[in-house]
Symmetry: C2
Subunit: 243 residues, 2 copies
DNA sequence: CCAAAAGTGTTAGGAGTACACCCATGA
DNA sequence: TCATGGGTGTACTCCTAACACTTTTGG
């Protein structure tokens, strides 16, 4: 079984989904039986890496197997490799034995992904569920997966603060109010609508379309798109440090 | 020989050193004989990870073995794991065979480190050399090590722009002019002395000492230190996004 | 006293912030 | 016609950027 795998190396995905109201994360339910007691634990979707796939490919494969999603935003985070990460809790060890996991330590490489949840292409397996990120702290997770989740959430916020990726949480065509909501919800702040629009429009790489929202019972918003093209051209190092 | 190692996993170090004039990087000379011709190649210091050490420990061990340095700034970058990374050049393959490297692919985890080069604690091995980062592009490096180096340099600049780490390239007590030079040299810009000092002093976590430079033939500068303590206390999320 | 780098204030322009009302649509 | 969120402008404040001379030290 493990002949074509690298037994010491896995990838884990932290898939963040945004539904205009909450930030959610994709978790897998994992019941663990230990000393006769059943524990309802959660884990991140992940898998051991195959010998014949590179690590980005492995991460894409797992995400596709789980959600059917392809070609979505994905960023590698730094690896988690402490010696005892699989065996800190006795019940995790029981579970590893029950699935015949080889007695090897595993270093994992986490990837975070961003998707919009109001789109309809989510064919989840029965054990996968979307969980509000605010509720994760109350769950019990195997191994160091809660630590990895928290690191990923912090990394997501860092990226959001400095890179144009907020729209990866939105449909390809989005309104400025939707975009504002991403920042408001992820940073738990309120932003002034007029100032926000001024700032975004001054960037020039978020471009208005000739299209409006449909099916809303109020004045429909103009839709915008992110232009990678214009962004790359404008990224002329306006040096600025904020340490 | 490989019994206690994880054959598919290595760490590589990108050690940046600053001498007040240039940014340098620590490279290892590696001659490779291929089809009767000797090539003078370079590589990054690195090693396969042992089964009984976690990845941060591995990186620290290698750095200590090479430079005698301990307790210096170190940050993990994201892994490099394409399938063909060791075998893109025929001569790299020849070299792997000559050192009896097992026929396994290797995923590497890079770490970058920062040190000050005017200090004297550098007991380098004979094959290690400090190279001006501007000269690296002209060198030939094994595997994907040039790519890793460039990624590390870009990451260093990103970190410098957003985190208080510039003084990791300086002695513990430094003058504001030295600090300014770090930014000027790493970003290839000129900064206004008065504005720079105003900005740095307004941060409050770079604190003046009661000590001055010695042994200079001009007016001696007041020395400063970075206070991790004050920094942590002040880091009260002043939200600000610059995408 | 000369050379070299340290240290210091002010002003003008631009960016960020605070703030309130009319508009377009569906029900 | 009502409810809902979309869309807009201005004034004030604060931060940033530009700019030149005096001070301290060693030789």
């Amino acid at each position: 079984m493990y002949k074509q795998l690298i037994p010491n190396l896995s990838v884990d995905s932290i898939v963040f989904g945004f539904d205009s109201v909450q930030l959610k994360v994709l978790l897998i339910k994992q019941d663990i039986i230990h000393k006769g007691i059943t524990y309802h634990d959660y884990k991140l979707p992940g898998d051991i890496i195959r010998k014949d796939e590179d690590i980005d490919t492995a991460s894409k494969r797992i995400l596709k197997e789980l959600t059917g999603l392809q070609n979505i935003f994905m960023k590698q985070l730094s690896a988690f490799g402490s010696l005892d990460r699989l065996t800190r809790r006795p019940r995790d060890l029981s579970w590893l034995i029950s699935i015949n996991h080889p007695d090897e330590r595993v270093i994992t490489i986490p990837y975070f992904s961003l998707i919009n949840l109001t789109q309809d292409h989510l064919a989840l397996t029965s054990k996968a569920c979307w969980t509000n990120v605010d509720n994760v702290s109350a769950l019990s997770m195997i191994f160091d997966h809660k630590e990895i989740f928290e690191f990923a959430l912090e990394s997501l916020r860092n990226e959001l603060r400095t890179k144009p990726i907020a729209f990866e949480l939105l449909p390809p065509k989005f309104s400025l109010s939707q975009l504002q909501k991403v920042y408001e919800i992820l940073f738990e702040i309120n932003l002034d609508k007029r100032n926000f629009r001024k700032k975004i429009l001054s960037l020039n790489y978020i471009v208005p379309l000739k299209e409006k929202e449909t099916g809303v019972k109020h004045r429909p918003a103009l839709l915008y798109m992110f232009s990678q093209d214009i962004y790359q051209k404008l990224k002329t190092q306006n040096f600025d440090f904020t340490i």
